[in-house]
């Protein structure tokens, strides 16, 4: 198991807009380059991309949570 971290400080979002489904769910597979979250920095939305492949085992933050640069956001079981 390993953790993917936020590269930027800001506000964490799991979905592209409030009406959409989350980018990833626990149990879902991710591939490098896949968008897994958004971080809002000063009203600009930045995509967080997976940097490895694996299965999501835990999502460490909720929509609208404050996040620091370097903070873990998603745990994955690597394949």
């Amino acid at each position: 198991m390993s953790t993917m971290n936020a590269q930027l400080p800001g506000v964490f979002y799991r979905r592209p807009t409030p009406d959409h489904a989350p980018f990833v769910e626990v149990g879902g597979k991710v591939e490098p380059g896949q968008t897994i979250a958004l971080i809002e920095v000063m009203k600009t939305y930045n995509e967080v991309k997976a940097d490895r492949s694996g299965t999501v085992s835990r999502i460490l933050l909720d929509d609208g949570d404050e996040v620091e640069a370097g903070q873990g956001i998603v745990e994955v079981d690597e394949v």
Binding site: L8, V11, V41, M42, K43
Partner: protein, 446 residues
């Protein structure tokens, strides 16, 4: 609120500082609110009392109606000033403030509601006799679009009904092009927004963004304080504003002011508000929208008229008459405002949160800096990127721009990137100095 009142400042940043100052100057007490990230902020320090309202993300604090109402009750204020942004144009918030027994420093909730909706605002303008950009209801198909386009006149824009913020707009120059692209534009809208409905609107190439400041009281006082030109924009964000609008014919200036008052009277406007227009190169102007709050760029109007807009907001909210009449207001000289943002103009305007390690403000005649920041403060990632508004007044436009150039050379901000380098280029730009520019001027040249 009679005599000395207590006012909750339901905002943050430079506008919170601005409102606290206006409260004190009018003899009122000011109660600040703050999130986790803003605990040591300037407006918190300047206010008579401060209430913590929640976590750093705005949804947990400055956008949290319940937390703000709780703060108002706890600190026993008489009125709530919403500033700009956040909840300032939220009719439900204004209604909740009023229902809880506080005075809302702004227009009545139903006016916020009416002007906040694009369609109803457009209908209100038309009913008031104020011209709107010629446009259509949703069009059914290409044949319908071609018919409607003849009435509107080319060039036109095909706009996705579900688009917004500049997305889903297709410019079309003539009948042949419309015939060719209409069906595709609808299909594109369907896949982008899940709704293929489109309507047509006259395109106004070369139009300027000119807005009129209004002030109104409940005794029939309805005054316009002339106009501001906000055509220097990037991605629809204003970067530089000036007043008065350069080279605007006196007759157009008068007509714009009168149109704004007509609309204000028609909707029963109260307090401060701004009526935005597009002014086409042929001098025709069209209503686009109304902002039912104090505007970021209000200081340039203050600079040329000598009227303290926030002080008037507080007077009117108390039920007093405006301290001025249309006959008594005049404008003198020219003013320019530069929005200095924590963004890197050399790196696609990427926001740059971080600690400010040097902050030396400019000064001198006609120079005003509105900011909430000082050395050692952090620009947090949670809110907008505005560091400071630099407002320079001069006896004429050339002097205002020259003073702005000097002020920008003096303004030293270190620790974060800022838009100062862009502004330095702008205030010396021969095209901008030569006269009016249009809303896509800056983007077309870069």
């Amino acid at each position: 609120m009679s005599g000395r009142g207590r006012i909750l400042v339901a905002n943050r940043g430079e506008i919170a500082v601005r409102v606290v100052r206006a409260c004190h100057a009018a003899g009122h007490e000011a109660v600040a609110v703050y999130s986790d990230a803003d605990k040591n902020a300037r407006w918190v320090e300047l206010a008579d009392e401060a209430v913590h309202i929640g976590g750093s993300p705005a949804a947990k604090s400055y956008l949290n109606t319940d937390a703000i109402l709780e703060a108002a009750k706890y600190s026993e204020v008489d009125a709530v000033h919403p500033g700009y942004g956040f909840l300032s144009e939220n009719a439900a918030f204004a209604r909740a403030v009023t229902a809880a027994g506080f005075t809302f420093v702004g227009p009545p909730p139903e006016v916020i509601e009416l002007m906040g909706d694009k369609a109803s605002a457009r209908t209100a303008a038309t009913a008031a006799g104020v011209p709107v950009v010629p446009g259509s209801r949703p069009v059914a198909d290409t044949a319908d679009a071609l018919r409607v386009a003849e009435e509107i006149g080319y060039p036109i824009l095909v706009k996705a009904a579900a688009g917004g913020g500049g997305r889903g707009i297709r410019p079309v120059r003539d009948r042949a092009q419309l015939e060719e692209v209409f069906a595709g534009a609808c299909a594109e809208a369907q896949s982008a927004f899940g709704d293929g409905t489109a309507y047509l609107e006259r395109a106004l190439p070369g139009a300027r963004h000119v807005e009129v400041q209004l002030l109104a009281d409940e005794h029939g006082g309805m005054v316009h304080l002339f106009e501001r030109d906000c055509s220097v924009q990037r991605r629809r964000q204003k970067l530089l504003e000036e007043a008065p609008a350069p080279e605007l014919p006196e007759s157009t200036r008068r007509e714009l002011g009168e149109a704004a008052r007509l609309l204000g009277n028609h909707v029963g406007y109260r307090n401060a508000g701004t009526v935005e227009f597009l002014v086409a190169p042929d001098g025709e102007f069209y209503f686009i929208e109304m902002n039912t709050r104090v505007q970021v760029e209000h200081p340039i109007t203050e600079a040329i008229t000598g009227v303290d807009l926030v002080a008037e907001q507080l007077r009117v909210a108390e039920g007093q008459r405006l301290s001025l009449s249309q006959e008594s207001v005049s404008h003198r000289g020219a003013a320019v405002e530069l929005r200095i943002n924590a963004e890197d103009p050399d790196n696609d305007f990427t926001p740059t949160p971080g600690e400010i390690t040097a902050f030396d403000q400019p000064g001198g005649p006609g120079v005003r800096v509105d900011t909430a920041l000082t050395r050692g403060d952090r620009i947090s990632p949670f809110y907008d990127s505005l560091i400071a508004k630099l407002v320079c007044w001069g006896a004429d436009r050339n002097q205002a721009y020259a003073r702005a150039g000097q002020a920008l050379r003096e303004f030293r901000i270190e620790g974060v990137a800022s838009t100062i380098p862009l502004h330095r280029r702008l205030v010396e730009d021969p095209e901008l100095l030569a006269g009016p520019v249009h809303t896509t001027w800056l983007e077309e040249r870069s």
